[in-house]
Symmetry: none
Subunit: 143 residues, 2 copies
């Protein structure tokens, strides 16, 4: 279970330091993928496997499905934090999320997310103001 918001820097080699509170859960591996709203998703191996199974069920004869599968797998990276708690982010993923130096790592329950600092600031400012409004719309989803 990932919770909280943490500020970090990306070093010259494209590596980011994981928040200390996330390390234990990710110690035996993690998978990073292109997420929604221009951020990166970080999954535990267990969560990733669930996802992978779903994707594999998609029909290969469907053109949209092929496009999605290509994006999904080519935009994924298995890894593990080193002894200092760092993970390296492949170039194509950094490009996708627009990560430069300042990033924000947030915990979102089952997964963690990595955001460019400014993008996150903008996004959270926008959604915070309409927080209760959005919540109301979600009421129908049984929360």
């Amino acid at each position: 279970m990932f919770l909280g918001e943490f500020q970090h820097l990306i070093d010259g080699k494209g590596r980011v330091i994981l928040p200390a509170k996330f390390r234990e859960e990710l110690a035996d591996g993690l998978v990073i993928t292109k997420g929604l709203e221009d951020c990166l998703f970080v999954y535990t191996p267990a969560e990733w496997n669930k996802l992978e199974d779903k994707i594999r069920e998609m029909p290969l004869t469907n053109q949209n499905a092929r496009a999605f599968t290509r994006n999904f797998f080519s935009g994924a990276a298995k890894g593990a934090p080193d002894k200092q708690g760092r993970v390296s982010l492949p170039q194509n993923l950094r490009d996708y999320a627009g990560l430069n130096k300042d990033v924000v790592v947030i915990g979102v329950g089952a997964r963690a997310e990595i955001w460019d600092k400014e993008k996150w600031a903008k996004y959270s400012a926008e959604t915070e103001s309409s927080y209760s409004e959005i919540a109301e719309q979600l009421a129908g989803l049984g929360i």
Copy 2:
């Protein structure tokens, strides 16, 4: 399981260097064939056999099936990486995929794909929008 996106060059002899992360899986052989959307598919022997069985089950009376089968098998080449992790691409396959010098090798789960660099850039830019659409639908399924 093939994941990620890698930039490589084709040398003067028509060989491409496999990404280091793909080598182990392909060490004991691979099959390259004409893929969909003007790229090359690269399969492990095991995956290839599965595919071969599936295609053999296709009805011989269907004209599209016949055409597809012809393309798929006639364009296939068995091979193995050399000690430096290189595989040579037959001329007809290079022509088919329009490969010159800069290529991109991507992992797509069960298979890998080889793309001309520019074609891939174009394709992935075009399909990125459908990526978030489909991803959102998947997210709705409780992932």
